[in-house]
Amino acid sequence: MRRGPVAFVLRLAFIALLLCAWEWAVGYFKTPAYIVPAPSGIAYAMYNGIASNLYVSHIGATISETLLGFVFGCALAFMLGTVVALSRTVEYYLYPIIIMFQAMPKVALVPLILVWFGLGLTSKVISAALVAFFPLMVNTIVGLRSADEDRINLMRSLSASRWQIFRMLQLPNAMPYIFAGLEIAMIFALIGAIVAELISSERGLGMLMQSMSFTMDVAGQFSILFILSILGLILNGVVTLVRRRVLFWDTSRDADANEANATKGEVL
């Protein structure tokens, strides 16, 4: 398919058309705002939320929970993934536990985390970390094990130590997998943080949505959904940006990024 500036304008026009149709339908069917608000109502709610400074601190809370959870979850996932990838013994003993956790919907653990760690920041960070953990750990394991046999033989023929093979070959070779894992982990951390906030929290966009749901402020909820979507895009974009810088040599992913995402981030 050819994509010129005309197509881009058409794409924007299409979105505008959808919004107009939505606006019109809500007016025509006289749908109450507490069921489906009109786009204009959502925009108004958004303006109010931002102008009154209500959203800002909640956005900040959600971002810090997500980022802290991402950092802790990914650091642990990378370390454990590395140990599992390099040691068959560790893998043998940890494998059943990993499989168990992997099959479990991680968000189902969030109520327990809230009981153990309270309603504050800690429980949100832990839940974000927990959800972010698995995609990166799995990708780290797969990536570190994916080193080509010829390349390993080359390193061995140079009398490289195990550590050198890891540092000079396996680790850089695993980076495309690790970054695919990081991109997923970033979005997953946001999910973990929001779910914890929805269940029980003092701050954050999830908590805000929950309280709006009690007051039937559906337009407000839509505006938060929109903010969350933008937030997810930005967080994911930051990881992608870093990946492009670090993985300048990896041409495989720019061409079929989605395909690689699908295969490399198999565990949701």
Binding site: D148, D150, N153, L154, S157, L158, W249
Partner: protein, 274 residues
């Protein structure tokens, strides 16, 4: 290393006068055990003199790559002995350089970085090795490409990087496993000319694995012909053609006779239609 250039006589290396740098005796290798096991190499014996260029030619599946892996210390044999400079091979050694079928470059390293890999692994002096790397890159005509990445190079250029990388730590022995197998015929011929030039300049002992009869005869001082299932030596002979050999040596009668001899060893029954 350049001392060695003048040491061995350039063209007349009689097999008896130089000591054997590689010596293989009744070597066998069996993959798997018992009934289901496959005998990949059977009763292989040969030796290679210092500075000699040996080509091992044979069909795919004759175990020639396996032989190279054993000599590189990447795979232990199941019977017999393989010695390098008089001591048994017990693992990878630093006096060996290996060139693989594919260039095996690291895409995250530049050309210079890839050539420097042996120096990094073996913690050799950075500045000195850098100079050496630049010299070697120049030797194969890749000056100006030092800071390029492998994906920016053609297949032939990549393989040249693979070859000079194997020369970096100045190994006495170069093991080459069908290094030009993936190249097109024309690039392959010019790489053969270039390899001969590098060899005459640097004087390594080379064991060159190939499935091309012409390539083997063109490059080698001595050709070892291997036959398949199980892999064993079918014939072994010296190639007495003056060096440097030009590509048109391939049109000579003498060259044709050598090629014929290889073919006869590969197909004892005459081979094919008759």
């Amino acid at each position: 290393m350049d001392a060695r250039v003048t040491q061995g006589a350039v063209s007349g290396r009689g097999g008896q006068t130089v000591r054997d740098i590689i010596s293989v005796r009744q070597l066998s290798l069996r993959y798997g055990r018992g009934e289901s096991g496959v005998l990949a190499l059977s009763d292989i014996s040969f030796s290679v003199g210092d500075g000699e260029f040996i080509a091992v030619v044979g069909p795919s599946g004759c175990g020639k790559s396996t032989l190279l892996k054993i000599l590189a210390g990447l795979l232990p044999q199941t019977a017999g002995a393989a010695n390098l400079k008089g001591s048994p091979i017990q693992g990878p050694r630093r006096d060996i350089g290996v060139v693989f079928q594919s260039p095996v470059l690291f895409p995250w390293r530049t050309v210079l970085g890839n050539v420097m890999l042996p120096a990094d692994v073996q913690r050799l002096d950075k500045d000195e090795m850098r100079k050496r790397a630049l010299d070697l890159i120049k030797l194969v005509g890749l000056s100006g490409f030092e800071e390029r990445y492998p994906r920016e190079l053609s297949g032939g250029m990549q393989q040249r990087v693979g070859i000079v990388r194997a020369l970096m730590h100045d190994p006495a022995i170069l093991l080459m496993d069908e290094p030009f197998g993936a190249l097109d015929a024309m690039t392959r011929e010019s790489m053969n000319v270039e390899l001969q030039r590098i060899w005459m300049e640097r004087r390594k002992t080379v064991l060159f694995i190939t499935h091309s009869t012409a390539e083997a005869v063109y490059l080698a001082d001595r050709v070892i012909v291997m036959t398949a299932r199980p892999g064993k030596i079918g014939d072994e002979f010296e190639v007495d053609l003056p060096r440097p050999r030009r590509l048109d040596v391939m049109n000579t009668e003498a060259f044709g006779a050598y090629v014929k001899r290889v073919r006869a060893a590969l197909n004892p029954g005459g081979g094919g239609l008759d």
